[in-house]
Subunit: 112 residues, 2 copies
DNA sequence: TCAGCATATAAGCATTTTATTATATAAGTA
DNA sequence: TACTTATATAATAAAATGCTTATATGCTGA
């Protein structure tokens, strides 16, 4: 088991200790998502979503990739805390339902 | 894998997302501890320690047992989030060193 | 019963967190 | 070029957090 520092781990747990961010991670472990999809799924303002993503990015948990006018977020599997994140996500309900719902509404952004 | 609710899990993660409480859990997974031991180990005021323990107790993560004038805290293994806690603690450094140090100072409370 | 130790609780305060609104930037398109 | 859409950032306000100090409670032992 790869050990991380106590303080570093606490910071990651605090980040994950918010239901919006935790759900985001649960989604991203399945599929990349863009900001507007999160806005739709969480029924939350665009700046609020943007700020949650910023925190995840500052911690190195996620990466962003621009695709045209959209910016897609994905999990950063190279982060030292990725195994912890993976492990924790096993304990939450599958978040994919949110994406399926989005698709049914025709609001899923496909990046082709 | 036993799934817990998203919100419940987020709350537990937020609780663990503080380095004092995370370390407490890392200690308690090894040994029961009383309040004055935590005060000594964390070099923190007694009320501050008491308040952290209260949060852990309110969440059902720990239990208390009075032994004479001392109150000993222990992990509540019956809590639905205990498996998550166990799993997360695998990622932090062993906290037992703090207890060994305490013992060397002759400040360990033995409950006989 | 009183004094002392261990612990909890309450109140106050500073800091942090998370949302909102307003505005800026960047890409796509007519 | 100008307009629209997607996103980020800044400023701010409200709420939550975590400490401090002061005080209360509950054992223990003289």
């Amino acid at each position: 088991m790869e050990k991380n520092s106590l303080e570093g781990t606490a910071n990651i747990l605090k980040l994950m200790g918010d239901k919006t961010r935790l759900s985001m991670l649960g989604l991203l472990i399945k599929h990349d998502c863009c900001v507007c999809e999160f806005v739709e799924m969480f029924k939350m303002s665009q700046p609020a979503i943007s700020q949650h993503l910023r925190k995840l990015k500052d911690a190195g948990l996620v990466k962003e990739t621009r695709k045209g006018q959209w910016i897609f977020y994905s999990l950063n599997k190279d982060n030292q805390y990725y195994p912890l994140v993976q492990d924790v996500i096993k304990y939450i309900p599958d978040q994919e339902q949110k994406l399926i719902l989005l698709q049914q509404q025709g609001l899923r952004i496909s990046c082709d």
